[in-house]
Subunit: 273 residues, 2 copies
């Protein structure tokens, strides 16, 4: 049960406020109620927000926690003046000392995403998503030379969500290609991948976890059986080792962690720009 | 040209540090060099980081800006003591006042993503990604009743990246379905969508922008011609208006902004949890 509400208030999507606020709240053993209020970009909306926060505080008998990433100073002022919650101004806190250090004023323009829709970076991200989609699960061997990375692994080892995340978050053209029983019989990588060996990155997974995941798809199948999962994972790992492919286990990692690790390995320069 | 380097230092993926740091830097008219240093989770690595920061400062003749989201206090202490950059401790700054207000200590455990890979929320997100992938571009009419939202619009109006983002970021099962010339001739929504009218959300786009995007795919085709794009967009908007479908224009919005707007419309309760 929650006993305290946390608000995330932004003049944009509120994703930054919520992502960062949640990272901080994760440091505490508590389960607050979350309320994200995006697009709070007028003084009128700010007044409504103040009423909502104070009403919540009255009902719960505790100060709501209020994370803001507001750029519009008039909107922020309304909330600063009226809000009875604990206000954590995530922008102002860092913007003011930075103004001093940099010797320039911030311009208070709204939104990390404004105008991005026409930028080259945004365009490249959308292209990367389209590429990853077209090259999901070995669907196409065309343009594999255009890939930044080609993920390989047994079915359901986490290749698809990782590829899409690499594209969406990092703008990487990430193809993925399954390793299947036929490959294990031939004891060779899929022929289409041979010319691109340097781009390969393997994902593996504990057989027990793999069996659980596959059982959700095809309950009680041979495909999902622990015995078969063990055999496939063994074969896949042996093949990756033989072929000198870098790999990691997705078992206890989130796609965010897997993606960052892969990025560090295959495109370290993307961490510096 | 950049004249100053900004470091993002984290014991986890560094995505939070970078997302938040960039949102703050976007308030300044400057183009710094970015260096993300993920997985800085030992004192040894912290010493290396200090050397790297100070070396950069020496070369550039300016204090590097250093955003940290470090939870490990020993690692943070090394950087606080040795680093000659401007240190912005994004966690400590808010964690300490929160400890006071909440009356509980933070536990300094690393990573917003730790252990998430087994959580229900994470599982639902992966399921949503798989659903959105299986229902991209009208690929499958199966289980459309399972969708949280079905995006409709002409080819290249932004449906696919928006669906995937809704799934990945918000855990929404987002299908998407194209509106094609045959639908316009019949002057009716695709028959498969009729039972799901309430879940439909339309995307439209300026014909000029659409023509640009389509020309990248199929240069000088009738499909990409401004005349054809105008006609398709007109027909699609008229159809959405007739059918009472909510819609928005993707022309100047990022997928993040489109997704948040759709979430507010179709699943406002997802903003409160």
């Amino acid at each position: 049960m929650h006993t305290r509400t946390v608000f995330f208030i932004s003049d944009g999507t509120g994703i930054t406020a919520e992502t960062f606020g949640n990272a901080i709240l994760a440091q505490f053993d508590m389960k607050p109620r979350h309320v994200r209020l995006p697009f709070i970009d007028t003084v009128d909306k700010a007044h409504q927000v103040v009423r909502q926060i104070n009403h919540t505080g009255d009902i719960e008998g505790r100060k709501p926690i209020v994370f803001t990433t507001l750029v519009n100073m008039e909107v922020l002022a309304v909330i600063q003046e009226g809000c009875q919650g604990m206000l954590l101004d995530m922008f102002g806190t860092f913007v003011h000392p930075l103004e001093k250090e940099l010797g320039i004023k911030s311009h208070h323009r709204v939104g990390r995403f404004s105008d991005v829709s026409k930028s080259q970076e945004y365009h490249d991200r959308i292209e990367a998503i389209n590429f990853s989609l077209a090259h999901d699960d070995g669907q196409s061997n065309r343009d594999l030379e255009g890939a930044d990375v080609i993920l390989v692994g047994v079915s359901r080892s986490g290749k698809t969500p990782t590829s899409l995340y690499l594209a969406m978050q990092h703008g990487l053209k990430a193809a993925n290609y399954p390793l299947i029983p036929e490959d294990f019989e031939r004891r060779q990588l899929p022929p289409a991948l041979m010319p691109h060996r340097k781009k390969l990155f393997g994902l593996t997974i504990h057989p027990e976890r793999l069996s659980e995941i596959r059982n959700e798809r095809r309950p009680n199948s041979r495909y999902a059986s622990l015995e078969n999962c063990r055999a496939e994972v063994n074969e896949a790992e042996a093949m990756m080792r033989r072929s000198g492919i870098r790999w990691l286990s997705s078992t206890t990692k989130s796609i965010e962690e897997i993606a960052t690790t892969i990025l560090q390995e295959v495109r370290p320069e993307r961490l510096v720009y």
